[in-house]
């Protein structure tokens, strides 16, 4: 591969580099500084070495929150990606229904996260909520404020309702960008719908699916507002995901050192998983 001779383009990215330096790198440096110190407030710090890292990495509480986080992210990815793809494939490509479908799909994405949590909180209440009352009326014992299983189901359904649209819109945009010539060639060859999907649509959607998986992975791994408004991490700790636990430690207990150490471990996990996803999906792909 030949190297680019003119490197002046790098100057055009300087403004964004400066912006990122202030809104991401400086706070990250501060977190690293906090992670090796103890403070009782008043900007007074005491050196603590790596003890917060040892504490966090050996803590059952952290292991449990990480496991819950991985289970949540795995579940919603397993539901949202195929579901979003199927809905995108089923959406019309031409005609007046296109706009209707796109607006309907965009609606959940326009609702603020705390409002989504509040909506589902009320909707799923077993005594007055439409969903909660309806599920109980069907004979299922459902109470997300008392049963961990119900709480998990509600959080997952809420996330699927809120975010599948994003996958749908990305996949739909990807599908619309496939030239008609591919479909015409498939028709000439007498390809069945499955073959068209497997050998034309799916390969062409690889990049948008990579973006969709990365976005949903990162967002779901950092889920906070919707879950905390809906369940508050309960009942017990059953829906206390990593971010909720982190906020409890940092702001509830004001243990800034352990919270900073946990943030760094959390950040490294997100960074690594995102890199692995990206590398695996873009392997053998010319960029």
């Amino acid at each position: 591969m030949r190297k680019t001779a003119n490197q002046k383009a790098w100057f055009f990215v300087l403004p964004v580099v400066s912006l990122v330096a202030f809104n991401a790198i400086v706070p990250l440096m501060t977190v690293v500084n906090y992670s090796v110190q103890e403070t009782f407030g008043d900007n007074v710090f005491f050196w603590a070495g790596v003890q917060w890292f040892e504490q966090v990495l050996r803590s059952d509480r952290f292991h449990a929150a990480l496991l819950r986080q991985l289970m949540f992210t795995g579940t919603i990815l397993a539901i949202e990606i195929p579901l979003g793809l199927v809905i995108a494939l089923a959406m019309p490509r031409k005609g007046p229904w296109v706009s209707v479908c796109l607006v309907l799909m965009a609606l959940p994405l326009l609702i603020p996260w705390n409002v989504v949590g509040a909506m589902w909180n009320i909707l799923a209440l077993p005594d007055i909520g439409l969903l909660g009352y309806g599920v109980n009326a069907l004979g299922f014992e459902y109470n997300y404020t008392r049963q961990p299983g119900s709480a998990w189901a509600t959080v997952i359904v809420m996330d699927v309702w809120h975010w599948t649209s994003l996958v749908v819109l990305l996949c739909y945009a990807g599908l619309m960008s496939i030239p008609d010539a591919y479909y015409q060639a498939a028709k000439v060859d007498g390809a069945r719908p499955w073959a068209v999907f497997r050998y034309i649509q799916l390969p062409k959607l690889k990049r948008v699916l990579t973006i969709a998986i990365l976005l949903r992975f990162m967002d779901s791994f950092m889920v906070y507002t919707e879950a905390v408004v809906l369940t508050g991490g309960g009942p017990g700790n059953s829906t206390t995901f990593l971010s909720i636990d982190l906020v409890k430690i940092a702001l509830g207990q004001f243990d800034l050192g352990p919270a900073a150490a946990m943030s760094i471990v959390y950040f490294l996990i997100v960074l690594t998983m995102s890199w692995i996803f990206y590398t695996l999906m873009m392997r053998n792909e010319e960029i």
Binding site: K3, T30, N33, F53, E54, L268, R283
Partner: protein, 91 residues
């Protein structure tokens, strides 16, 4: 800057990262060769990618050591150096 709660060890850590970036730039300027190549993992990696993999892997080596064994950190530091040399040579 007091709100950032700087310490000499953490400042040293960030200076090391900065020196890595400067060193990589100087290396590429003096001996160009940062174009992607395919290593043992089957990945096309540039020198920058290999630095990223080295640093990320080293972070997990230190975290793993802290979680399983604890301080001091000389042993994981040695493992991390071997890891980085291996990545730059073969990945």
């Amino acid at each position: 800057m007091s709100w950032m709660a700087w310490t000499w060890p953490t400042a040293g850590f960030f200076i090391f990262i900065l020196l890595c970036f400067i060193g990589m730039s100087v290396w590429e300027y003096c001996a160009p060769g940062g174009a992607p190549r395919r290593g043992v993992l089957g990945l096309d990696t540039t020198r920058g990618d290999r630095l990223f993999i080295s640093l990320l892997g080293s972070a997990f080596i230190f975290l793993g050591w802290l979680g399983l064994v604890g301080a001091p950190l000389w042993a994981p530091a040695a493992i991390a150096i071997i890891w980085a040399i291996t990545v730059f040579r073969y990945v």
